[in-house]
C-alpha cells in the first residue's frame, strides 16, 4: 500500500533534519468502526484512520521507538503501528479477550490483559512474540508498568484488587485490595503512587507502591473508569455515567472540581497544561485546559471511540 505523506499540520523541519518532525499525536481506538483515529494535536485534525482487527479498545505507546500498540478484543489481536509513518508494522494473534495494554519505558515488553482467560500476556515488542502467560484473577483490565520496568500492576476487576507482578520472575507477588470493580490504573511518574479507579464503588484507591497499601480512598463521580496524573500533581478521573471529569487532590484525598465533558468519557492522557479525553458516546477527542478547567477543543473520531490506555505520542519524549 502506498503511504501518502501527510504534511499539513506537521511542525516545520529543523535545519539539517532528515525528515520533518511531526507534532504530538493521539491514537484513538474506535471500537465501532474497527480502526484507529490518528489526531495531530497541533492542528487538531484527524490525519488518518488506520484499519485494525475488529473492535479495538486498548492502546499503548512506546515513545522512544515511536511504536503504538493496539488491542482488539473482538479480533483477538495485537496490532503495532509506526507512530511516524502510520503504517501497520506487525500483528500478533492472541486469542481470548485482549483488552488492557501497556508497554515498558524501554519499549522492550508489551503487557496485555486477557479479559476472558484471566491472564497477563507478556510480549516481546521487537519480535512481536508471546514470551509468557501469567495467571491472574477474574477479569483483568487496566495495566501500569513501573518506571524501571521491574513491576507490573493489573486491575483484577471482579476480584476487587490489584495484582502486583514481578517481571524478572514472571510471577504475581502480591495483591492489593481496592474498591469495587477496579478498571483503569494510573501511576505517578516516579512510580511511588498507583491509582485504581473503582467503577462500582465510585471512588479511587490511592496506593503506596513501596508498601503495597491503600493510603486513602477518594469518592469521585458516577461510574468512574480511567485516570491520569497531570503535571501539577492533580489526578483527572473520567466518570462514564457522570459525563464529567473529577479533578482530585490525591494528597488531600478530595475532589477539587468537576468538569462537564462529553457523554461516556473513557481514556484520558495528560500533556503539559492540558488533558485529552475520549468521549465514547459523542465520538470525539476533547481537550481540557487544566487551568481554566474548560473544554477548549473537540475533535471528531471514528465510531464508539475508547482510547483505553496512554494514547499520546510526543516525538522525542522518553516515556
Amino acid at each position: 500500500m502506498l503511504i501518502v505523506a501527510v504534511v499539513a499540520g506537521m511542525a516545520a523541519a529543523p535545519a539539517g533534519a532528515e525528515a520533518p518532525v511531526p507534532g504530538a499525536r493521539a491514537f484513538i481506538t474506535n471500537q465501532g468502526s474497527h480502526d484507529v483515529s490518528v489526531v495531530d494535536l497541533d492542528s487538531g485534525h484527524e490525519l488518518r484512520r488506520i484499519p485494525v482487527a475488529a473492535g479495538p479498545a486498548g492502546v499503548a505507546v512506546d515513545a522512544r521507538q515511536g511504536r503504538v500498540y493496539i488491542t482488539s478484543p473482538d479480533g483477538r489481536m495485537l496490532t503495532r503501528i509506526d507512530a511516524r509513518t502510520l503504517e501497520v508494522t506487525g500483528t500478533l494473534e492472541l486469542g481470548g479477550g485482549p483488552v488492557g495494554i501497556a508497554v515498558d519505558a524501554a519499549g522492550t515488553r508489551v503487557y496485555v490483559s486477557d479479559w476472558y482467560r484471566n491472564q497477563l500476556m507478556v510480549i516481546d515488542a521487537a519480535g512481536l512474540q508471546l514470551l509468557a502467560r501469567i495467571a491472574l484473577g477474574r477479569v483483568p483490565a487496566g495495566i501500569a508498568v513501573a518506571p524501571d520496568g521491574q513491576q507490573v500492576y493489573v486491575a483484577e476487576r471482579d476480584e476487587d484488587r490489584v495484582a502486583v507482578i514481578d517481571v524478572p520472575h514472571a510471577a504475581v507477588v502480591a495483591h492489593i485490595a481496592v474498591g469495587a470493580h477496579p478498571f483503569g490504573l494510573a501511576l505517578s511518574a516516579d512510580g511511588s503512587r498507583l491509582f485504581a479507579v473503582n467503577v462500582l464503588s465510585n471512588n479511587v484507591s490511592v496506593i503506596d507502591t513501596a508498601q503495597g497499601t491503600v493510603l486513602r480512598t477518594v469518592p469521585v463521580g458516577n461510574t468512574p473508569y480511567c485516570a491520569v496524573l497531570a503535571e501539577d500533581g492533580r489526578l483527572f478521573v473520567t466518570n462514564q455515567h457522570g459525563d464529567s471529569l473529577s479533578v482530585v487532590d490525591p494528597q488531600a484525598g478530595r475532589v477539587l472540581a468537576t468538569v462537564p465533558v462529553g457523554g461516556f468519557p473513557e481514556g484520558i492522557v495528560a500533556d503539559g497544561a492540558r488533558v485529552l479525553v475520549v468521549s465514547w458516546m459523542d465520538e470525539e477527542l476533547e481537550e481540557i485546559d487544566t487551568v481554566s478547567l474548560r473544554v477548549v477543543r473537540r475533535i471528531p473520531t471514528g465510531h464508539n471511540s475508547r482510547g483505553f490506555g496512554a494514547f499520546l505520542w510526543r516525538p522525542g519524549a522518553t516515556h
Binding site: M1, G32, G75, Y116, N304
Partner: protein, 181 residues
C-alpha cells in the same frame, strides 16, 4: 500491511477453531454497543417532559409497557418494575434526574427482558429548531452473552436490534399521542 476485516474474521475462525471453554467470569462481552434515536414532536417541551419525565408512568406513552410499579417517584435511586405486554419485565433505577435540562438517566438490572447487560440509558427533551420539541433517547449496553462466540440471539446485533426497537416504537407512539388533535 492492511487486511480486509471480513477476510481476517474467516482467517481467525480457522486459526481458533478449538473452542475455548467459556469461563465463569461475570465479565460482559468485549464491545459496548450504543443506540441513539431522536424524534421531533410538534408539542411544547414542557408537555413532552410531563410524560417522559414521569419515571413511574411510562406506560402512558410506551406501547410495550403493560403495567408499572415504582418505589420512589422521580427521586435518584427510585426503582421501577415494568411488566411488558409481550411477557417479561424490566427493573430500572434512576441514576440522575434533572428537570431543568429535562433529562433522565437510568440503569437496568441485568437479566431483564432485553438481551443486554450493563444497560444504561438517557432520555432528554430539548426545544427543537423551528419550534416543537426534540427528544433524544440514547442507550449504552453490552450484548446478553458475556463471553466470546455468542449465540445469535445474544450477540451484539441482537442487542442493538432489541434496544432500537424499544426506542423507535416508544418515540413514534409518544409523537402520535402528543400530536393528536
Amino acid at each position: 500491511m492492511r487486511f480486509n476485516r471480513r477476510g481476517f474474521g474467516l482467517l481467525a475462525l480457522s486459526l481458533f477453531a478449538l473452542p475455548l471453554l467459556p469461563s465463569l467470569a461475570l465479565a460482559h462481552g468485549p464491545t459496548r454497543q450504543k443506540v441513539i434515536e431522536e424524534i421531533t414532536i410538534q408539542a411544547a417541551p414542557a408537555d413532552v417532559w410531563k410524560l417522559v419525565g414521569n419515571f413511574g408512568n411510562w406506560g402512558a406513552w410506551h406501547p410495550a409497557i403493560d403495567s408499572t410499579t415504582v418505589t420512589d417517584g422521580n427521586a435518584v435511586g427510585s426503582v421501577r418494575t415494568l411488566k411488558l405486554k409481550g411477557g417479561g419485565e424490566l427493573v430500572e433505577e434512576i441514576e440522575a434526574y434533572d428537570a431543568e435540562t429535562m433529562s433522565l438517566k437510568y440503569r437496568a438490572k441485568d437479566h431483564g427482558a432485553l438481551p443486554v447487560t450493563n444497560y444504561t440509558s438517557m432520555i432528554q427533551v430539548k426545544p427543537a429548531d423551528g419550534g416543537g420539541s426534540a427528544v433524544t433517547w440514547r442507550g449504552a449496553f453490552y450484548r446478553g452473552f458475556p463471553n466470546n462466540d455468542p449465540p445469535p440471539e445474544l450477540n451484539d446485533e441482537a442487542a442493538v436490534n432489541a434496544v432500537t426497537g424499544v426506542y423507535t416504537s416508544g418515540l413514534a407512539n409518544l409523537k402520535a399521542l402528543l400530536e393528536k388533535k
